[in-house]
Symmetry: C2
Subunit: 471 residues, 2 copies
Amino acid sequence: MSAGGWQPAEPAGRVGQAFDPPPPIRLAMLGCGTVGREVLRLLSEHADELAARIGAPLKLVGVAVRRPHRHPEIPAELLTTDAAGLVNRPDVDVVIEVVGGIDPVRGLLLDALKAGRGVVTANKALLAEDGASLAEAAEAAGADLYYEAAVAGAIPLLRPLRESLAGDKIVRIAGIVNGTTNYILSAMAGASGGAGTGYREALEQATLLGYAESDPSADVDGFDAQAKAAILASLAFHTRVVASDVYCEGITEVTSADIAAAEGLGCVVKLLAICERVGSAEVGESVSARVYPAMIPAGHPLASVDGAYNAVFVEAESAGQLMFYGQGAGGAPTASAVLGDLVAICRNRVAGGRGPRDHVHANLPVQPMGATPTRYHISLDVDDRAGVLATIAGVFARHGVSIATVRQDMSGGAGPADRPGARLVIVTHTAPDAALAATVAALAELDEVLGVDRVLRVENLGRPVSALGVA
Amino acid sequence: MSAGGWQPAEPAGRVGQAFDPPPPIRLAMLGCGTVGREVLRLLSEHADELAARIGAPLKLVGVAVRRPHRHPEIPAELLTTDAAGLVNRPDVDVVIEVVGGIDPVRGLLLDALKAGRGVVTANKALLAEDGASLAEAAEAAGADLYYEAAVAGAIPLLRPLRESLAGDKIVRIAGIVNGTTNYILSAMAGASGGAGTGYREALEQATLLGYAESDPSADVDGFDAQAKAAILASLAFHTRVVASDVYCEGITEVTSADIAAAEGLGCVVKLLAICERVGSAEVGESVSARVYPAMIPAGHPLASVDGAYNAVFVEAESAGQLMFYGQGAGGAPTASAVLGDLVAICRNRVAGGRGPRDHVHANLPVQPMGATPTRYHISLDVDDRAGVLATIAGVFARHGVSIATVRQDMSGGAGPADRPGARLVIVTHTAPDAALAATVAALAELDEVLGVDRVLRVENLGRPVSALGVA
């Protein structure tokens, strides 16, 4: 099975034991940016330890980069600009891909897998777009495809989902999987102690600290979280979910007023990637995958995850509630995840086997966002006159949306000077998202409604929210 | 390698695909209590799903119990009282052990491993006492030994430590690994909202709720956490650490005054299992493993883990800070972990290989508790007279212990009516535990000291504790 053609060492080598050392496992790396440099450092600094854990030494045979002169730290004979040539070298056992982007990486990794080489990749965009092709190529060739680093960086998440919970049934995943947006929302909430800042100011801070790119769109518009949600949903529910299946709203519209409103309800605002198994065996199961900012109860374990940290909350039928917390990005943390995968693939090769593959046997349909049950928190500026509440309640009723709580917010909201205004804050019970959206649209049309100030979704995540009056 | 003698299915079966179904993997279970019953339920309810994930169906061939008449739900032909006979049946592929206790289980599992059968066990006491013998037997026979359920129940922890962080270097593990004591400490702190209770009352609550056994010693004296610390330290540091290597103090001496004192410092009290890599490559590395109640900063992710939940905080060189959170006990959560291991072993058998083994190549010495650097929080009742602070500071200095903060606690403490007393609260910097203990003993001998009210260790866990005046 190994392209290198060497035999499994039996027993696997421990440092200092006397027997013929097994031949090295030969590695090729595609790309050498922040993560790649850390991978090279770990490979070099921990060479003995890695050999002991794997049972064979590792040998780097090439690094494909665009501009070799920018990598004086790498021996010149290892550097190449010919990524395809490197991937197709017959003596390469495992390919580590830290380039990112969909093409030309897709073709390179497909070539590697088809040739039976193991592949470690951190490429969330590619996996969320076309992970199925990679998985099929791996399956057909009996090759290993590992990608722990693609979601939540250093946090061991995909392996627990795929292996530790293999005998369980995952019901829901709700994750803070983008550190940039979590940093921004934490800063807006004043989580580090001071007063909260506005969105623009928080984004500037994040950029200064290097958490946000100069073009922050992939983060703040939710696309990064969207790709990760697709990967998580695919893995958790044994179903193919691609990025475009995932409903996505970013945080660019979140205001300080939203954060304050959440606080008033005993909640905080987090950008969540939610993957749920919905329906039942009787009526048919499907998968919901979505990304949006939502209010969650302040007592929920996810609520206290601040700054650039990531955390993923998992609910499984037997295991109950689990949470995984750690750094979601950065060179060293991501390299740790890459190395963990590399060790696993290499151990599999030494043992003459391969790791668990991705199953898509469930093949559940993806539920459209409109049919997904959610809850809304709605702030309305209304005419402060008799009967207005009855009119508004009637709109909810006509759309089949049940109201959990209504309160009048004395602090904010007002109409024009000539019309006495009041701010109503309404939290609904769960209803299909389309019904909620239609309700909001109908409210906006009402003469009594001066403006729909803001809509935010509310996610209990299995915890009672007493301030909301509903479990 | 499989005792069943069947061939690996290639490719592994997906439900509905047309090829000869592979023969079943044959399971024997030892014990059938709370966890065992849940394992049987999951094996039955999820049979198709498990077969799809494994690539072969599972078949239970026997369950060894002490009193068969107590298990009317299990077909009579599967029940036996002859555990040794069951384990040695030549047609058994994998043994699931949920009996607990050291003997006779040790001999049964050694027999199973020597015969090449896979073993899944939740037996922390046995693993902490003699995991090395089991690991050696597994290694010699090329058999799989998995025990995720032995530490922190449903939380995927051992697999991430062993596999996900295989390319990293674990520096420290600090875990809340006993739900009973965490429930008691949470109740004493009033974590669920009300006022805190005393230790006795909290223990009674825990017993009523079924969290504590009628003899709670294994939990409250720290022995359960001690066994888990030994397993974690062995795994994390590739070194043999047994339960008796782990320094252990329970929570029976923790008072409401301790909890209040912690709150005053911006801390909470948790029973921690701490495993650390100490020293350096230059001066020699060793391992510290210890269990005791300690003050930790209220802002630390572990601090908000309340009730019967478990959480384990891991620091690794590259990955940084990670935390794993979930249910540490209970039938269904523990069964989820057992099933995850079972699926892994069965997948390995289908693939004709085996999983990663436990390496003890590092063989680090275990640091005695006296040499382990810790910090103390000390409450002293002293004579309120001139010079007392200088005398006390002199005792610390003579023992080489540096004081971080001293403050006079106006609320509590007093001497007898005829001697005006003051309560001093002292927090030290880090010093060897023996030096700290000797300091406390010397303080108690001082004429000026009316009493050493209480000593609690302080663990920053990598976070600054501003109230303590030290990072």
